[in-house]
């Protein structure tokens, strides 16, 4: 130091008042307390399991399960392992969540728009739907559909005939199943090709519009390419698809696709319940776009449809997507209520039957929770990505 020492030093807080020291102290304290807590739990758990004769580890996954599962997307028999039951349950959970998300989105968007309708009656009916089903527990709704509605359907022999070969009874919904023949894969490839080509058309059309101002009917072209092209291929190939109809043989219907009542009840309840929340989200999103935007768009000479498509929806989506994501997550988590009516989802099959049979509480709980955590984090990651994608359009 070149300055003469004046003998005065800047006052320094005592070390126990130093924010850095304190932060360090509290964090060390937290770690110690947490570590002690976890260690006690692990210790107790191991002790308890030893005294109850439960082995730890994941070896049980290779043992034969020995119980049947009502619905399985992959081949499964009682001789398969517990590991396989896990996969079966997981796929069933994904199936019901996926279907539920698609259906609830459709219902939610229709009802959300309907609630904002200028038509007084339609708006009131939509409000009635939303306020009724939003305020009743989901589990109650599942029970209602399963026991009171589907349970009251006629038996197999008195099945309701819904036309087109669709039969409906208390064992489920029987649908004709499309059976692809040789060459059907070409049709599917055409869908993909049509979609890809239409992307290029869109890019070209935008470039042309930017350069010359001439619009091009992109939407219709996309529609024509993705559906028309496969349709032409389908007809040229001589309709390589036939329908297998469910037929009454003995005591039950054989052939075709069956949607078991458990799945149906769960889907109905999930769709109707989550649909109300999505409807409210959509309403809030559309309301958040100020009316000036509509007026400005109309003043620029856009048509009503163009206003909606180019001005309102893109802005509303930005508000809608984050809460929509959490609704999708809720639906996925709520699909675990399947266990109450016996739909074989992950919780019912794995955390229910498998846990009861093996007693491996810790491993099974950890695996099940890990699955839901992964699904949650993946969906929210994907939605965050999409959200950013949408938000980039902003100035």
């Amino acid at each position: 130091m070149s300055e003469p020492d004046s003998g005065l030093k800047p006052s320094k807080p005592a070390f126990w008042n130093d924010p850095k020291v304190r932060a360090l102290f509290f964090q060390v304290l937290l770690i110690v307390a947490l570590g002690y807590f976890l260690m006690t739990i692990v210790d107790n758990t191991l002790e308890n399991m030893r005294s109850r004769g439960i082995t730890t580890g994941f070896a049980f996954l290779d043992e034969p399960a020995g119980f049947g599962i009502l619905q399985s997307l992959i081949p499964y028999t009682e001789a398969n392992t517990y590991g396989r039951t896990f996969v079966v349950g997981l796929l069933n959970t994904l199936l019901v969540s996926g279907l539920g998300i698609v259906l609830a989105t459709i219902v939610g968007f229709i009802m959300g728009v309907a609630r904002l309708s200028h038509n007084w009656l339609i708006a009131k009916l939509a409000a009635l739907y939303i306020e009724t089903f939003r305020n009743v527990p989901l589990l109650l709704q599942i029970f209602f559909w399963y026991f009171a509605v589907l349970g009251a359907l006629p038996s197999v022999r008195q099945s309701l005939d819904l036309g087109l070969g669709i039969r409906f009874n208390n064992r489920g919904l029987y649908l004709p199943e499309p059976i692809p023949e040789n060459g059907f894969s070409i049709v599917l490839w055409m869908v993909l090709i049509g979609f890809v080509v239409s992307r290029f058309v869109k890019r070209w059309a935008r470039k042309r519009q930017d350069a010359t101002g001439q619009p091009f009917p992109v939407f219709l072209t996309t529609l024509g390419l993705t559906f028309g092209l496969p349709l032409i291929a389908f007809l040229i190939l001589g309709s390589p698809l036939h329908w297998e109809f469910p037929e009454l043989k003995g005591f039950n219907f054989k052939g075709g696709m069956t949607i078991i009542p458990e799945l149906l009840a769960l889907l109905l309840a999930l769709t109707i319940y989550t649909g109300t929340f999505i409807a409210e989200t959509v309403r809030a999103g559309i309301n958040s776009v100020s009316h000036g935007q509509t007026e400005a768009a109309l003043a620029l000479g856009l048509t009503r449809v163009q206003t909606l498509r180019l001005v309102i929806i893109p802005q509303a989506m930005r508000v809608i997507i984050p809460p929509l994501t959490s609704q999708y997550l809720n639906l996925t988590k709520n699909s675990s209520l399947a266990t109450a009516v016996g739909y074989p989802d992950l919780v019912a099959v794995f955390m229910g039957t498998t846990l009861n049979q093996t007693g491996q509480a810790v491993e099974i709980t950890a695996m099940t929770m890990a699955v839901y955590l992964t699904i949650s984090l993946t969906i929210s990651f994907f939605m965050n990505w999409y959200n950013k994608h949408v938000a980039l359009i902003e100035r």
Partner: protein
């Protein structure tokens, strides 16, 4: 017409066209403004025509309101069998709680209502103190009253609790206990200390990422393993611990929303006044933040209230479970719909009124921070 020409500005005002005013005008504007709307309106009326009359007939006109047995319900063309509900009503409300002791939960409930009334009176001065009393002291009073075993009250085991009473107890305990934990977690998540922050983030995201059912399963199966041998928990306590852990994560996010809504200047002002962290939080930030999130807390309460039905999966007899059990009573078989409609109505009344309250509150509180 007596006069056919007017000087400029002398023309008397004409009536508006008949088609734009009154009932016809309203109908034209709101129901039949164009062909598409007319179609929708007709569709709506068709739906109402299809479902409303049979529903009213089933629910009210042809319903059997009370009867000691199911005979009138089985009659040809009988509507809803409310007699089923009527016979089971006390069980739906109290579960298997001893009949002669119903006064105890009743007293606890009435006491709570009596204590809450002043909170809604504008000029009442001791709101904070009363609120603290309700949150800190009342639970013990209620416990002694409902559970008994102290002060000469006869003990009523928790496995006898049930019905709407249990639903209310579970949700009330869940919300009251998760609030302080949620506040601490929310503060922790906004902390600058990296370890504190990450512990809170992991806790919150973990519980928010898993379904309540798995949490309840976990607390009923795994919780006994966590404690030294011989520690015995009753089922209700295990369910409550699960619900509180789960709910506190959601509560933390609600509170965090409030903390984020407080302008940075408030934090800085509190710091520049020389307040310590806890003082600035307790005196400046939290009172404002919590006021902002009351509607959010009410909404979480609604969600929790609906979610308590899941405890039936681990074998507790809440309102839905009791009704489910009554449905399978051989003497009253086949009246599932009535049971579910009744349960739905009760849940609906609670949830709908709370959500209205929350909306009203939101509008009332939306004053200080509106810009």
């Amino acid at each position: 017409m007596s006069k056919t020409s007017y000087a400029v500005g002398e023309h008397p005002d004409l009536e508006p066209p008949a088609s734009t005013i009154g009932v016809i005008g309203w109908l034209r504007e709101n129901l039949f403004s164009n062909w598409w709307n007319s179609l929708l309106t007709l569709f709506g009326f068709y739906l109402i025509y299809l479902y409303l009359p049979p529903l009213v007939e089933w629910m009210f006109v042809k319903a059997v309101w009370s009867s000691p047995d199911r005979v009138p319900c089985d009659a040809e063309g009988a509507g809803a069998c409310w007699a089923f509900i009527d016979n089971r009503f006390t069980q739906f409300m109290y579960g298997f709680y001893p009949k002669e002791l119903y006064w105890r939960p009743n007293t606890a409930g009435l006491l709570l209502i009596a204590l809450m009334i002043p909170l809604f009176i504008k000029s009442f001065r001791w709101k904070w103190q009363l609120g603290a009393f309700i949150l800190l002291v009342y639970p013990f009073i209620a416990f002694v009253l409902i559970h008994g075993g102290y002060l000469g009250f006869e003990l009523v085991e928790t496995n006898k609790w049930g019905g709407l009473m249990l639903t209310l107890i579970l949700s009330a305990v869940g919300i009251v206990a998760s609030l302080p934990i949620g506040i601490v977690l929310a503060l922790g998540r906004r902390s600058t200390m990296p370890i504190v922050k990450s512990v809170c983030v992991v806790y919150i995201e973990f519980w928010r990422g898993v379904p309540l059912i798995t949490v309840l399963f976990m607390s009923s199966v795994m919780l006994p393993l966590f404690f030294p041998e011989g520690t015995d928990f009753d089922k209700l306590a295990r369910a409550m611990i699960g619900i509180i852990m789960f709910q506190s994560a959601y509560m933390a996010e609600v509170v965090r929303g409030g903390l984020q809504a407080i302008p940075k200047g408030q934090y800085e002002a509190a710091a520049s006044l020389g307040l310590t962290y806890w003082k600035s939080m307790g005196l400046i930030i939290l009172p404002q933040a919590l006021k902002l999130v009351i509607p959010g807390i009410v909404n979480t309460f609604i969600a929790l209230f609906k979610d308590t039905t899941l405890v039936l999966i681990i074998g507790l007899f809440d309102l839905l479970a009791i009704i489910q059990q009554a449905n399978s009573d051989p003497e009253w078989l086949g009246f599932d719909t009535e049971g579910y409609v009744f349960a739905g109505l009760i849940f609906w009344i609670f949830c709908f009124s709370m959500s209205r309250y929350s909306i009203a509150l939101e509008q009332k509180l939306h004053t200080g921070h509106k810009r």
